[in-house]
Symmetry: C2
Subunit: 228 residues, 2 copies
DNA sequence: ACGATGCTTCGATAGCGATCGAAGTATGGA
DNA sequence: TCCATACTTCGATCGCTATCGAAGCATCGT
């Protein structure tokens, strides 16, 4: 017994409702201040501060001081994937906590996951890349083919500028609403950023939803078709 | 706030050290009795019983009565994947709890994950399938090609008999020691079972390790080669 | 320099849950 | 039938931690 990594430690960090709410909110990719996170968790600032320092010590969060504000964000993409994985499992077991509202369908359609596109549109985009042979997958890691490189170049994304030693270019990330994978990594981030730049879509102010313009949606479906 | 699945509930289930130890032990795929699990968790039978009923209510465990024994096992493969994912994250953050010993290298080399092969050998096997075009991956799910079907047939595994409506044939599962994917699903199970049947390897009695015979290891490396 | 804002630290409280002893239920064997 | 084994349920205890008030520290604006 007692072999291997200590999962109880991080699980208990996520296991507190206030902390879980904060983490879920940070899955939206935006860095939030301690005051904002306290409101999200439904607790006072003092309590939130205690929680946040524990989460940081546990390697789930990273903080950045900026003036008198302190911004908190998920430590990295692996942390975001862990949270999304747990969401997927929880929803598959019926551990739901829905407060059904108009935002829900929008979230399922398209939302931000850390810094890339998730939801129905995110899954479709990766499907399109794969079924056209622009991205291939060897197990967990994805890689871009020459055909994909040319396609992305035409779309306006320069792969060579995305190279990073700290973070993989492509990574698959399990989608909790679709239960399939979407594209993460620096390429996933760049693609979402490009869509924002092109005016195809914008972020919702109060949730993780990504709202496409009618024109943007048309162009998205044209750019990432799915053939049988 | 408060949207989406309730991750705090399952996270707090895993967050208790005694429960985490039990779950980690069950990742070995064997069903264990309440008494055995109590010993693993380092608690009395009464406490263990309370824990086990909570884990079952949370959808993580399934129990099977057999005479006066009650066998507990992970509910399904998704539960096993969740635990392995958490192990991967925990070890990447240095949340280790090693009791270094001779078993450790054996576990990294080859071990059981639920009912399929994990560790260095598990990752190698999937790599071999993929780099020979016998299995292709479209995002999360893997699928066997015609070439792969023939290869497996020659190896002695009949794919058509593995079809199941309850569980996918192929699934990728993240390996906590290698941080790469290995092959899960009914095919992963069948492959490991076949190796046991052929006498290539056997299970360790006291841990999750899979111990290959020298002859079995030679045949394994020959059967699942990796070319550049 | 001074107050205001954002956040952390300290200290005390309160409540939840892990734990175990004791008693109760079910199954198997003699 | 009677005892032993395997497990669950009940009840009480105890420790841990989430929580918040109050005070302290840092930064910004003026």
């Amino acid at each position: 017994m007692n072999e291997g990594p200590n999962i109880a430690q991080i699980a208990s960090l996520i296991g507190d409702p206030a902390r879980a709410n904060m983490l879920a909110a940070l899955t939206g990719g935006r860095a939030l201040t301690a005051t904002e996170l306290a409101a999200i968790g439904g607790i006072t600032l003092q309590t939130a501060s205690s929680h946040l320092s524990k989460l940081e010590a546990g390697g789930l969060l990273a903080q950045r001081k900026q003036g008198r504000h302190r911004y908190f964000a998920l430590a990295d993409e692996a942390a975001a994937r862990l949270i999304e994985t747990m969401m997927g499992f929880a929803s598959s077991r019926g551990h739901l906590r829905y407060r059904p509202g108009p935002k829900d369908p929008a979230l399922r359609k398209a939302r931000v996951c850390y810094d890339h596109l998730a939801g129905d549109f995110g899954v479709r985009m990766l499907d399109s890349f794969v079924c056209h042979g622009e991205i291939v997958s060897d197990g967990e890691n994805l890689s871009v083919t020459d055909k994909g490189r040319a396609q992305l170049d035409a779309f306006g994304i320069d792969l060579s500028s995305l190279a990073s030693n700290r973070r993989p270019l492509c990574k698959s990330c399990l989608d909790w609403s679709e239960r399939r994978s979407h594209l993460a990594g620096t390429l996933g981030k760049a693609l979402l950023g490009h869509m924002f730049d092109q005016g195809w879509a914008r972020r919702s102010e109060e949730s993780r939803a990504v709202i496409f313009t009618p024109e943007g949606e048309r162009k998205f479906l044209l750019q990432f078709p799915i053939d049988p």
